[in-house]
Symmetry: C2
Subunit: 412 residues, 2 copies
């Protein structure tokens, strides 16, 4: 089964808006077993929209249209669709009722202009927009399905979730498809693939494995197709267990879990507090920890010691250590760690010191050399890593590796 | 003059890749005075590419094609273009020479497979790819221009910059267009627009002003069209001076200036050092400062005092202050500021304390309430701001406002 996507709107053709809707729609439809034949972006012109519709329906059974339903241009898209299907615009009482309630609730008079929001092509089924006043439209004509939605991403997504995706599953006899995400941190895609070589070789024919890497993380997506959803669920559970057996150490969560939240929950459960002592990351690890709402329950603070004198004065790193072994060394991060824990009176900490570049690298310690210490005085894990990329990437990867070290430390 | 963009590649139709190339191309072409008629994304199939080319050339004088030139699928796109123009693939000696040098330089034997990289449709002009081995192709047929480029964004951009954009300017008699960007921070788009009301009303007819907002920043783009570039430059200088007169306080830079770099340069020039004391931003201000390479010249470190006990113990905030006025108060950030400057021995500092939410707000101090102090003990600026948005937005906006306060402080 094939679909086409038409996006309507000048902002994409001018380049001020990146078309993220199409990628989102394409992913969701592919996950349902519907493949995208083509994506066409056109301007808010009747002729142009008509010709795109004509082209799209040549090869697709499903045509998704986004955009062109805003308050300033809703007439053109609705009118164009009505004309395309030789239908009239008519007032939909159920739409009018909801809009009236919406405006009444806000103490606004429903103007003649707003009243037209309830006028849709007579041959469509109106689709409620939970996040806005421009409704979606579902057409079944010529043996095909056409869906028109607003271009505002959250409105479109909400309409898709609530109505269009369920309706598509019902309308078309799509194969049963099940997806499951396994989330890993601080392991390269190639290393993970190596660990899963046997797993992949033995994967049943109705399963697919995708690696989705993103700055220190690799998301694994297992997809299974079949006829019976219950059977698929059982099969999926079995395959997930197999992935766990091969790569358990690197898995921090599943589906929509958030890395920093997972670690935060572990700290909160153990009733433990943490601090960070950062050099090359310049506060970025603290920032990642505090992106989590409620992190004040376990995070007390940090000392960002960019200058060596701050490492010495604030964290108690011995000048001798810095002189003999350098600011980027095992002994320095050890002393930074014990220093910050003592100073902020926490149960544990993270300390990092490294060379984020582009300057400051040497033959012995090139750009990307980072020392990381995690734990506390009596129980400490220290690692040296060599990270690739530019300054921004090195800072980001350092934070992911350090937080993953903390997660594993907490597992013990 | 109208152009069409064709993007070739399954990854866009599967939804794993967002098509950012088209927006980039659309913006660049619009800035040259070429408008985009249509964007079509198709799969790596000959028939599909052919039909997209046919559709595109119906309305456009320029057809830009990206993607489908990778090592695994270069034959299909090149072969398709050759067939489309009834041309043969032939070896281009100048391309072969460059490729041979490239591989020799890396000590790699030029294989038969790699040799095909030098084979292009006979009717094209080869365009050097400064960032890769797949060359671009420029065709002039049927009174139109067709350009094929790889889909890898940095390769495509580099080919556009070096060859395609200059060649387009030469080939087509485009109007003279001049653009200039004026960069502002920590002022809302609506407030800026208010300050520029008179300016806009008096803007000459050949000028346009665009507001491009992005999380605490508004970039102003002035665009001028005419026939004489020298004249435009003079006009532009005059208009830029007028913007400066009306909004000078909010302008931190022009064209490609980077906010944190501009502030870093000011600190370096004045030979001054800085530290931050952060509560609600949890290290994010320090992170922004240290994204700049070489920031160690002026940035010494930070104390991230999330817990009140850290504010007291490490920054010397009086427990009495916190008890009487709260951790989010004028007096607290003042004491945080003097505390961190003393502790890290810097010339000045930034201190912030606020409620990033979603919890922790009260009627008196709702989520988004932030106190910011900038300067040093003898010369301090303190402000309370009420910031909109979710936790992430409040953290980001706090950093921009605080850094902008620092910039203005340094101007004095």
């Amino acid at each position: 089964m094939k679909a086409a996507i038409i996006t309507i709107g000048d902002e994409i053709l001018i380049g001020t808006t990146i078309d993220t809707n199409s990628a989102w729609l394409a992913e969701k439809l592919n996950l349902l077993g519907i493949s995208i034949y083509e994506i066409i972006s056109v301007s808010d012109e009747k002729f142009h929209i008509m010709s795109a519709l004509k082209r799209a329906e040549e090869h697709a059974q499903l045509i998704l249209i986004t955009g062109g339903l805003g308050p300033t241009n809703d007439d053109i898209t609705k009118k164009t669709l009505a004309d395309y299907f030789n239908a009239e615009l008519k007032l939909f009482p159920e739409v009018y009722k909801v809009l009236k309630e919406y405006f009444d609730h806000r103490g606004i008079q429903l103007s003649e202009k707003n009243r037209t929001l309830a006028e849709l092509p007579a041959n469509c089924t109106a689709i409620r927009n939970p996040k806005g006043t421009a409704w979606g439209m579902w057409f079944e004509e010529r043996g095909k399905v056409y869906v028109s939605m607003p271009g505002v991403p959250w409105e479109m997504k909400s309409i898709m979730h609530d109505t269009v995706l369920p309706k598509l599953k019902q309308k078309f006899s799509l194969p049963a498809i099940l997806h499951y995400h396994i989330l890993t941190a601080a392991i390269a895609e190639s290393q993970l693939a190596e660990k899963l070589t046997v797993f992949e070789a033995q994967l049943p024919a109705n399963f697919k494995l995708a690696y989705l890497p993103d700055m220190g993380f690799v998301k694994l997506r297992l997809s299974a197709t079949g006829n019976n959803m219950n059977e698929l669920r059982q099969q999926m559970n079995h395959q997930v267990e197999r992935v766990k057996a091969d790569a358990s150490k690197h898995i921090y969560g599943f589906e929509n879990d958030i890395f920093e939240q997972v670690i935060g929950n572990m700290l909160a459960e153990k009733n433990m507090t943490i601090a960070t002592a950062e050099s090359c990351t310049g506060g970025y690890i603290a920032h990642r920890i505090t992106t989590v709402a409620g992190s004040s329950a376990y995070y007390k603070g940090s000392v960002i010691a960019y200058a060596n004198e701050v490492k010495t004065a604030e964290l108690g790193v011995s000048p001798h250590t810095i002189q003999q072994q350098g600011a980027v060394s095992e002994q320095t991060v050890k002393e930074m760690l014990t220093g910050v824990i003592k100073k902020l009176n926490t149960d544990m900490g993270i300390a990092v010191s490294g060379i984020a570049g582009p300057d400051g690298g040497t033959d012995e310690k090139p750009v990307g050399t980072v020392w990381i210490a995690v734990g506390n005085e009596t129980n400490m894990v220290v690692r040296q890593v060599q990270l690739p990329g530019n300054r921004k990437q090195i800072i980001t990867l350092t934070a992911v590796v350090a937080l993953e070290m903390l997660r594993r430390f907490l597992l013990k």
